[in-house]
Symmetry: C2
Subunit: 139 residues, 2 copies
DNA sequence: CCTATCGACTTGCGTTATGCAAGTTGATGG
DNA sequence: CCATCAACTTGCATAACGCAAGTCGATAGG
Protein backbone atom coordinates (compact mmCIF):
# COMPACT_ATOMS: atom_id res chain seq x y z
CA UNK A 1 0.00 0.00 0.00
CA UNK A 2 3.00 2.24 -0.07
CA UNK A 3 2.15 4.40 2.90
CA UNK A 4 5.80 5.27 3.11
CA UNK A 5 6.12 5.22 -0.68
CA UNK A 6 9.18 3.09 -0.51
CA UNK A 7 9.22 2.18 -4.16
CA UNK A 8 9.04 5.04 -6.64
CA UNK A 9 5.92 4.86 -8.77
CA UNK A 10 6.28 3.80 -12.36
CA UNK A 11 4.08 6.50 -13.82
CA UNK A 12 1.54 3.89 -14.90
CA UNK A 13 -1.95 5.01 -13.85
CA UNK A 14 -2.61 1.55 -12.44
CA UNK A 15 0.49 1.75 -10.30
CA UNK A 16 -0.61 5.13 -9.00
CA UNK A 17 -4.13 3.90 -8.33
CA UNK A 18 -2.80 0.92 -6.42
CA UNK A 19 -0.59 3.17 -4.33
CA UNK A 20 -3.79 4.88 -3.22
CA UNK A 21 -6.20 1.98 -2.68
CA UNK A 22 -4.27 -1.18 -3.54
CA UNK A 23 -4.78 -3.04 -0.29
CA UNK A 24 -7.30 -5.32 1.32
CA UNK A 25 -9.42 -2.61 2.96
CA UNK A 26 -9.47 0.72 1.16
CA UNK A 27 -12.03 -0.21 -1.47
CA UNK A 28 -14.31 -1.70 1.17
CA UNK A 29 -14.18 1.57 3.09
CA UNK A 30 -14.80 3.50 -0.12
CA UNK A 31 -17.69 1.17 -0.92
CA UNK A 32 -19.28 1.88 2.46
CA UNK A 33 -18.88 5.61 2.06
CA UNK A 34 -20.16 5.48 -1.50
CA UNK A 35 -23.29 3.58 -0.56
CA UNK A 36 -24.03 5.24 2.74
CA UNK A 37 -22.82 8.68 1.71
CA UNK A 38 -21.54 9.72 5.11
CA UNK A 39 -20.34 7.65 8.00
CA UNK A 40 -18.81 8.04 11.39
CA UNK A 41 -15.71 6.20 12.48
CA UNK A 42 -17.80 3.86 14.59
CA UNK A 43 -20.11 3.05 11.68
CA UNK A 44 -17.17 2.21 9.47
CA UNK A 45 -15.79 0.02 12.21
CA UNK A 46 -18.71 -2.35 12.36
CA UNK A 47 -19.03 -3.15 8.70
CA UNK A 48 -19.63 -6.75 7.82
CA UNK A 49 -15.98 -7.47 7.18
CA UNK A 50 -14.80 -6.31 10.59
CA UNK A 51 -11.78 -4.11 10.03
CA UNK A 52 -9.75 -3.54 13.16
CA UNK A 53 -9.61 -0.09 14.62
CA UNK A 54 -5.90 0.57 14.22
CA UNK A 55 -6.03 -0.38 10.57
CA UNK A 56 -9.14 1.73 9.99
CA UNK A 57 -7.46 4.74 11.58
CA UNK A 58 -4.36 4.51 9.43
CA UNK A 59 -6.34 3.74 6.30
CA UNK A 60 -8.52 6.82 6.87
CA UNK A 61 -5.43 8.94 7.30
CA UNK A 62 -3.99 7.49 4.12
CA UNK A 63 -7.18 8.04 2.12
CA UNK A 64 -7.57 11.53 3.53
CA UNK A 65 -3.98 12.29 2.60
CA UNK A 66 -4.68 11.20 -0.95
CA UNK A 67 -7.81 13.30 -1.17
CA UNK A 68 -10.25 10.39 -1.33
CA UNK A 69 -12.15 11.14 1.86
CA UNK A 70 -12.86 14.22 3.93
CA UNK A 71 -13.43 14.44 7.63
CA UNK A 72 -15.64 17.02 9.31
CA UNK A 73 -17.32 17.53 12.63
CA UNK A 74 -20.75 16.11 13.20
CA UNK A 75 -22.98 19.08 13.96
CA UNK A 76 -25.40 16.83 15.86
CA UNK A 77 -22.83 15.17 18.09
CA UNK A 78 -19.81 17.05 19.33
CA UNK A 79 -17.70 13.94 19.79
CA UNK A 80 -18.35 12.34 16.44
CA UNK A 81 -16.62 13.03 13.13
CA UNK A 82 -18.20 12.47 9.77
CA UNK A 83 -16.35 10.98 6.86
CA UNK A 84 -17.40 11.31 3.27
CA UNK A 85 -15.96 10.88 -0.18
CA UNK A 86 -14.46 13.80 -2.05
CA UNK A 87 -15.20 14.23 -5.78
CA UNK A 88 -12.00 12.32 -6.43
CA UNK A 89 -13.31 9.52 -4.29
CA UNK A 90 -16.74 9.61 -5.87
CA UNK A 91 -15.08 9.29 -9.28
CA UNK A 92 -14.29 5.74 -8.28
CA UNK A 93 -17.95 4.86 -8.82
CA UNK A 94 -17.44 3.29 -12.28
CA UNK A 95 -14.54 1.31 -10.87
CA UNK A 96 -16.76 0.03 -8.07
CA UNK A 97 -19.36 -0.97 -10.66
CA UNK A 98 -16.84 -2.99 -12.59
CA UNK A 99 -15.52 -4.72 -9.51
CA UNK A 100 -19.04 -5.56 -8.41
CA UNK A 101 -19.91 -6.93 -11.85
CA UNK A 102 -16.77 -9.02 -12.07
CA UNK A 103 -16.93 -10.20 -8.47
CA UNK A 104 -20.61 -10.98 -8.72
CA UNK A 105 -20.06 -12.96 -11.89
CA UNK A 106 -17.27 -15.13 -10.58
CA UNK A 107 -17.87 -15.45 -6.86
CA UNK A 108 -19.46 -18.83 -6.46
CA UNK A 109 -19.48 -18.63 -2.68
CA UNK A 110 -22.82 -16.85 -2.52
CA UNK A 111 -25.10 -18.68 -4.90
CA UNK A 112 -27.81 -16.04 -4.66
CA UNK A 113 -26.19 -13.04 -6.32
CA UNK A 114 -25.60 -10.14 -4.01
CA UNK A 115 -27.97 -7.22 -4.06
CA UNK A 116 -25.18 -4.93 -5.21
CA UNK A 117 -24.60 -7.14 -8.23
CA UNK A 118 -28.26 -7.15 -9.18
CA UNK A 119 -28.54 -3.40 -8.83
CA UNK A 120 -25.44 -2.66 -10.86
CA UNK A 121 -26.38 -5.18 -13.50
CA UNK A 122 -29.90 -3.87 -13.96
CA UNK A 123 -29.17 -0.15 -13.70
CA UNK A 124 -25.53 0.67 -13.64
CA UNK A 125 -26.04 4.28 -14.64
CA UNK A 126 -28.50 4.88 -11.85
CA UNK A 127 -26.23 3.18 -9.38
CA UNK A 128 -23.30 5.38 -10.29
CA UNK A 129 -25.35 8.54 -10.39
CA UNK A 130 -26.60 7.79 -6.91
CA UNK A 131 -23.10 7.17 -5.63
CA UNK A 132 -21.97 10.48 -7.06
CA UNK A 133 -24.49 12.45 -5.07
CA UNK A 134 -23.20 13.89 -1.86
CA UNK A 135 -26.33 13.35 0.16
CA UNK A 136 -27.42 9.84 -0.69
CA UNK A 137 -28.15 8.88 2.87
CA UNK A 138 -31.02 6.63 1.88
CA UNK A 139 -30.74 5.01 5.24
CA UNK B 1 -4.24 -10.67 0.51
CA UNK B 2 -6.00 -13.59 2.04
CA UNK B 3 -3.91 -16.34 0.49
CA UNK B 4 -4.85 -18.47 3.42
CA UNK B 5 -8.34 -16.98 3.53
CA UNK B 6 -8.09 -16.28 7.20
CA UNK B 7 -11.12 -14.06 7.36
CA UNK B 8 -14.33 -15.51 5.92
CA UNK B 9 -15.53 -13.50 2.95
CA UNK B 10 -18.57 -11.32 3.43
CA UNK B 11 -20.32 -12.35 0.24
CA UNK B 12 -19.90 -8.87 -1.17
CA UNK B 13 -18.55 -9.10 -4.73
CA UNK B 14 -15.97 -6.44 -3.89
CA UNK B 15 -14.74 -8.45 -0.96
CA UNK B 16 -14.41 -11.51 -3.18
CA UNK B 17 -12.63 -9.55 -5.89
CA UNK B 18 -10.18 -8.15 -3.36
CA UNK B 19 -9.48 -11.62 -2.03
CA UNK B 20 -8.32 -12.48 -5.56
CA UNK B 21 -6.35 -9.40 -6.61
CA UNK B 22 -6.53 -6.98 -3.67
CA UNK B 23 -2.83 -6.45 -3.17
CA UNK B 24 -0.05 -4.27 -4.48
CA UNK B 25 1.02 -6.54 -7.35
CA UNK B 26 -1.71 -8.70 -8.83
CA UNK B 27 -3.27 -6.04 -11.03
CA UNK B 28 0.13 -5.02 -12.35
CA UNK B 29 0.79 -8.61 -13.36
CA UNK B 30 -2.67 -8.83 -14.91
CA UNK B 31 -2.01 -5.56 -16.74
CA UNK B 32 1.22 -6.93 -18.21
CA UNK B 33 -0.46 -10.14 -19.31
CA UNK B 34 -3.43 -8.23 -20.70
CA UNK B 35 -1.28 -5.90 -22.77
CA UNK B 36 1.37 -8.36 -23.85
CA UNK B 37 -0.95 -11.34 -24.18
CA UNK B 38 1.55 -13.93 -23.12
CA UNK B 39 4.62 -13.67 -20.99
CA UNK B 40 7.29 -15.82 -19.46
CA UNK B 41 8.24 -15.68 -15.83
CA UNK B 42 11.39 -13.78 -16.69
CA UNK B 43 9.49 -11.21 -18.71
CA UNK B 44 7.09 -10.60 -15.85
CA UNK B 45 10.05 -10.22 -13.52
CA UNK B 46 11.58 -7.28 -15.30
CA UNK B 47 8.53 -5.10 -15.59
CA UNK B 48 9.04 -1.46 -14.81
CA UNK B 49 7.91 -1.79 -11.21
CA UNK B 50 10.41 -4.50 -10.32
CA UNK B 51 8.53 -7.17 -8.42
CA UNK B 52 10.77 -9.55 -6.52
CA UNK B 53 10.94 -13.14 -7.61
CA UNK B 54 9.55 -14.76 -4.48
CA UNK B 55 6.52 -12.48 -4.53
CA UNK B 56 6.00 -13.07 -8.22
CA UNK B 57 6.12 -16.82 -7.73
CA UNK B 58 3.54 -16.85 -4.96
CA UNK B 59 1.34 -14.30 -6.72
CA UNK B 60 1.32 -16.44 -9.88
CA UNK B 61 0.37 -19.47 -7.82
CA UNK B 62 -2.40 -17.48 -6.18
CA UNK B 63 -3.72 -16.12 -9.47
CA UNK B 64 -3.48 -19.53 -11.08
CA UNK B 65 -5.37 -21.02 -8.15
CA UNK B 66 -8.13 -18.50 -8.64
CA UNK B 67 -8.34 -19.19 -12.36
CA UNK B 68 -7.02 -15.81 -13.49
CA UNK B 69 -3.91 -17.05 -15.28
CA UNK B 70 -2.87 -20.27 -16.96
CA UNK B 71 0.59 -21.69 -17.28
CA UNK B 72 1.75 -23.81 -20.19
CA UNK B 73 4.99 -24.97 -21.67
CA UNK B 74 6.72 -22.82 -24.25
CA UNK B 75 6.91 -24.96 -27.41
CA UNK B 76 9.93 -22.94 -28.59
CA UNK B 77 11.96 -23.21 -25.45
CA UNK B 78 11.81 -26.30 -23.29
CA UNK B 79 12.85 -24.51 -20.13
CA UNK B 80 10.42 -21.64 -20.34
CA UNK B 81 6.79 -21.52 -19.28
CA UNK B 82 4.23 -19.22 -20.76
CA UNK B 83 1.64 -17.44 -18.70
CA UNK B 84 -1.56 -16.00 -20.06
CA UNK B 85 -4.89 -14.80 -18.84
CA UNK B 86 -7.88 -17.09 -18.72
CA UNK B 87 -11.29 -15.79 -19.85
CA UNK B 88 -11.96 -14.96 -16.22
CA UNK B 89 -8.79 -12.92 -16.17
CA UNK B 90 -9.56 -11.26 -19.49
CA UNK B 91 -12.92 -10.22 -18.10
CA UNK B 92 -11.01 -7.80 -15.93
CA UNK B 93 -10.44 -5.63 -19.01
CA UNK B 94 -13.20 -3.12 -18.19
CA UNK B 95 -11.89 -2.89 -14.65
CA UNK B 96 -8.41 -2.14 -15.98
CA UNK B 97 -9.91 0.55 -18.20
CA UNK B 98 -11.56 2.21 -15.25
CA UNK B 99 -8.44 2.08 -13.14
CA UNK B 100 -6.39 3.55 -15.96
CA UNK B 101 -8.91 6.34 -16.49
CA UNK B 102 -9.09 7.18 -12.82
CA UNK B 103 -5.37 6.86 -12.22
CA UNK B 104 -4.55 8.85 -15.34
CA UNK B 105 -6.95 11.59 -14.32
CA UNK B 106 -5.62 12.04 -10.83
CA UNK B 107 -1.97 11.11 -10.96
CA UNK B 108 -0.16 14.37 -11.14
CA UNK B 109 3.25 12.79 -10.91
CA UNK B 110 3.58 12.24 -14.64
CA UNK B 111 2.51 15.46 -16.26
CA UNK B 112 2.42 13.97 -19.75
CA UNK B 113 -0.46 11.53 -19.51
CA UNK B 114 0.57 7.93 -19.88
CA UNK B 115 0.08 6.19 -23.17
CA UNK B 116 -2.33 3.76 -21.59
CA UNK B 117 -4.51 6.64 -20.44
CA UNK B 118 -4.58 8.22 -23.89
CA UNK B 119 -5.42 4.93 -25.55
CA UNK B 120 -8.22 4.07 -23.15
CA UNK B 121 -9.61 7.56 -23.27
CA UNK B 122 -9.70 7.76 -27.04
CA UNK B 123 -10.84 4.22 -27.79
CA UNK B 124 -11.84 2.29 -24.74
CA UNK B 125 -13.86 -0.26 -26.68
CA UNK B 126 -10.96 -1.04 -28.94
CA UNK B 127 -8.61 -1.28 -26.01
CA UNK B 128 -10.80 -3.78 -24.24
CA UNK B 129 -11.49 -5.78 -27.36
CA UNK B 130 -7.79 -6.07 -27.93
CA UNK B 131 -7.16 -7.19 -24.37
CA UNK B 132 -9.79 -9.85 -24.74
CA UNK B 133 -8.07 -11.50 -27.66
CA UNK B 134 -5.87 -14.40 -26.78
CA UNK B 135 -3.14 -13.67 -29.32
CA UNK B 136 -2.56 -9.98 -29.01
CA UNK B 137 1.19 -10.24 -29.07
CA UNK B 138 1.59 -7.03 -30.99
CA UNK B 139 5.15 -6.93 -29.83
C1' DC C 1 -17.80 16.68 42.96
C1' DC C 2 -17.02 11.75 41.35
C1' DT C 3 -17.54 8.30 38.38
C1' DA C 4 -19.11 5.99 34.19
C1' DT C 5 -19.58 6.52 29.29
C1' DC C 6 -19.00 7.30 24.51
C1' DG C 7 -16.43 8.23 20.18
C1' DA C 8 -12.23 8.26 18.10
C1' DC C 9 -8.51 6.92 18.36
C1' DT C 10 -3.27 4.92 20.14
C1' DT C 11 -0.22 1.28 21.95
C1' DG C 12 1.69 -3.40 22.44
C1' DC C 13 2.56 -7.52 20.70
C1' DG C 14 2.37 -11.53 17.80
C1' DT C 15 1.58 -13.14 12.89
C1' DT C 16 1.60 -12.61 7.97
C1' DA C 17 3.28 -10.26 3.79
C1' DT C 18 6.86 -8.06 1.30
C1' DG C 19 11.72 -6.99 -0.21
C1' DC C 20 16.45 -8.31 -1.09
C1' DA C 21 20.03 -11.54 -1.88
C1' DA C 22 21.58 -15.91 -2.70
C1' DG C 23 20.99 -20.81 -3.67
C1' DT C 24 18.75 -24.84 -6.42
C1' DT C 25 17.71 -27.77 -10.48
C1' DG C 26 18.34 -29.78 -14.79
C1' DA C 27 19.05 -29.86 -19.84
C1' DT C 28 22.19 -27.87 -23.13
C1' DG C 29 26.14 -25.29 -25.54
C1' DG C 30 30.97 -25.01 -25.63
C1' DC D 1 32.63 -31.24 -17.48
C1' DC D 2 31.67 -26.69 -16.60
C1' DA D 3 28.97 -22.42 -17.21
C1' DT D 4 24.41 -20.90 -18.39
C1' DC D 5 19.60 -19.97 -18.35
C1' DA D 6 14.68 -20.16 -16.78
C1' DA D 7 12.02 -20.71 -13.07
C1' DC D 8 11.96 -21.09 -8.98
C1' DT D 9 13.02 -21.78 -3.41
C1' DT D 10 15.19 -20.36 0.97
C1' DG D 11 16.76 -17.13 4.59
C1' DC D 12 16.49 -13.19 6.79
C1' DA D 13 15.01 -8.30 7.80
C1' DT D 14 11.39 -4.91 7.62
C1' DA D 15 6.61 -3.43 6.98
C1' DA D 16 1.72 -4.36 7.26
C1' DC D 17 -2.00 -6.47 9.62
C1' DG D 18 -5.07 -8.45 13.50
C1' DC D 19 -6.42 -8.56 18.21
C1' DA D 20 -6.90 -6.80 22.74
C1' DA D 21 -6.49 -3.23 25.76
C1' DG D 22 -5.62 1.55 27.06
C1' DT D 23 -6.10 6.84 26.40
C1' DC D 24 -8.53 11.31 26.38
C1' DG D 25 -11.88 14.72 27.06
C1' DA D 26 -16.61 16.37 27.48
C1' DT D 27 -20.87 15.19 29.57
C1' DA D 28 -24.74 12.68 31.98
C1' DG D 29 -26.05 10.54 36.35
C1' DG D 30 -25.83 10.25 41.18
Amino acid sequence: MNTKNKRPLSGCPIDYALSVFGDRWSLLIIRDLAIKGVKTYAELLDGWEGISTNILAQRMRHLEGHGIVERRKNPDNWRSSLYELTPKGRDLAPLLSEIILWGGTYNEADAPKSEAFNIVQSDRGGFERELRQTDNTTD
